[in-house]
């Protein structure tokens, strides 16, 4: 446990260091972030997003999975991200790299709404 926290701290430090010294090396920065970033899942079930609102740290990859018998989409209200049509058990992922609030909805069933808060 302590060991993994230590490694994570080292990684974050390394990322910050790289970012400071060589800010143009976005490829290295992104791959380093992926290793430390968290993930979160939102289930689409019974025509609703669960949880409807989630708060995640910057760099989190959120994955939506459709557990309904009916296709749905995940579309950012402010056009930040947009999934293709997700049939039953299909997934869509998006990595949030900037803090902010990201409201989204199902463009097929617009009564279905959700929000990702990135801190």
């Amino acid at each position: 446990m302590w060991k993994s926290v230590f490694i994570a701290t080292v990684m974050v430090t390394a990322v910050m260091g790289l970012g400071g010294i060589q800010p143009k090396h976005n490829g290295i920065l992104a791959s380093a972030q992926e290793k430390t970033a968290s993930t979160a899942e939102v289930k689409i079930d019974n025509f609703s997003f669960g949880p409807a609102a989630i708060t995640v740290p910057v760099g989190t990859t959120v994955t939506w999975i459709n557990r309904d018998d009916i296709p749905h989409t995940v579309v950012s209200t402010e056009k930040v991200f947009k999934s293709k049509v997700l049939d039953t058990d299909e997934k869509f992922s998006y990595t949030f790299t900037k803090p902010g609030e990201y409201p989204y909805f199902c463009s097929i069933h617009p009564k279905m709404t959700g929000k990702v808060v990135v801190q």
């Binding site: 019974n46 025509f47 296709p71 989409t73 049509v85 409201p103 909805f105 463009s107």
Partner: protein, 322 residues
């Protein structure tokens, strides 16, 4: 005939003694949908079991057409693993009608996932209908990709750029509307400014005695907003139709028959040919209702409309299913 429908409601709005021959009748079939006969603006519906009690003369009008809806070709889940077979059964039912329909209306969700092979499948089965003309409006399942390119290329030839259109048949004015595009977060179906403007112009010069049939996928009345069963700007559309003595609005989307009369307007939703959906609020979501295989076909359907010209188009009769 009236005596056979104990649950019918008669509205003679203008109270001018409209000729009984000017009835518009709607026969709702629990098994394969609703059968309607329109005669001068009065609507009656009957349970399917009563069809055999009707004679051909009672059902005959000057114009017959059939509405089908929500065939969801490509759907293969528990509620109905063979939607092609049930669509075929609907076509067989249509072909067996004693008054052959002149054309078909499909009120959307032709496909489940907007795939070319799904559209092909429906077109192929509908070719088996004795009525050769089919008029379509899209459901949200038909326009999932590329702003509905696949649908509009196949089914909207001759329509306005947005896919809406109108046509005349034997003095009845038909309007096909599109309310499944550009849906907004948290909202219902939408017609949009451009389409509303077109509708206003389209009906402006028609005589108020012209019977109007409006068809669109999502109900043009608020059935159950919690499930998105309604259209944001339908009131504006209906406002343009106020002057007409007979307006019949045919919708799909909710996979069950439902009727409502408001002024001169009769709203009717058709059954799906694919799978039933729950009654408003009676399930956690509007997802497909899983029913025993032997019950499935009793919850699917078609809608048959038969118009007979009356001297006035004034009254509406609505009936619940038996």
């Amino acid at each position: 005939m009236t005596g056979k429908t104990k649950d019918e409601i008669l509205h003679d709005h203008n109270q001018d003694g409209v000729d009984r021959r000017g009835f518009l009748k709607c026969m709702a079939w629990a098994g394969t949908g609703a059968f309607c006969v329109m005669q001068g603006g009065v609507l009656k519906s009957y349970s399917m079991s009563r069809l055999s009690e009707m004679n051909a003369a009672e059902l005959k009008g000057e114009l017959s057409f059939v509405q089908i809806s929500d065939s969801h070709m490509g759907f293969n889940k528990a509620a109905n693993p063979d939607v092609a077979a049930t669509l075929q059964a609907a076509v067989d039912k249509i072909n067996a009608l004693s008054t052959p329909p002149e054309f078909l209306l499909h009120t959307g969700d032709i496909s489940h996932l907007s795939k070319p092979e799904e559209f092909d499948g429906v077109s192929q089965i509908l070719k088996g209908a004795t009525a050769k003309d089919v008029f379509f409006v899209p459901g949200e399942h038909d326009v999932l990709n590329d702003d509905g390119k696949e649908y509009f290329e196949r089914f909207s030839k001759g329509a306005q750029p947005g896919g809406w259109y109108s046509f005349e048949k034997k003095g009845v004015h038909f309007v096909g509307l599109v309310n499944v595009m550009n849906l907004k977060a948290g909202g219902l179906g939408t017609l949009g400014h451009e389409q509303l403007e077109w509708l206003e112009k389209d009906v402006k010069h028609l005589k108020s005695s012209t019977p109007i049939v409006v068809f669109a996928h999502i109900p043009l009345w608020t059935v159950y907003p919690e499930w998105g069963w309604g259209t944001e700007d339908s009131a504006q559309a209906l406002g343009y139709l106020k002057k007409f003595g007979s307006v019949t609005v045919l919708n799909g989307h909710i996979h069950q028959t439902m009727q409502k009369v408001e002024g001169n307007v009769t709203f009717h939703t058709a059954c799906s040919t694919a799978f039933p959906q729950p009654k408003p609020g009676e399930a956690p979501s509007p997802g497909p209702m899983k029913v025993p295989a032997e019950q499935l076909r009793s919850l699917l359907g078609i809608t048959d409309v038969n118009y007979i010209r009356g001297q006035h188009a004034l009254a509406v009769v609505d009936s619940t299913l038996g």
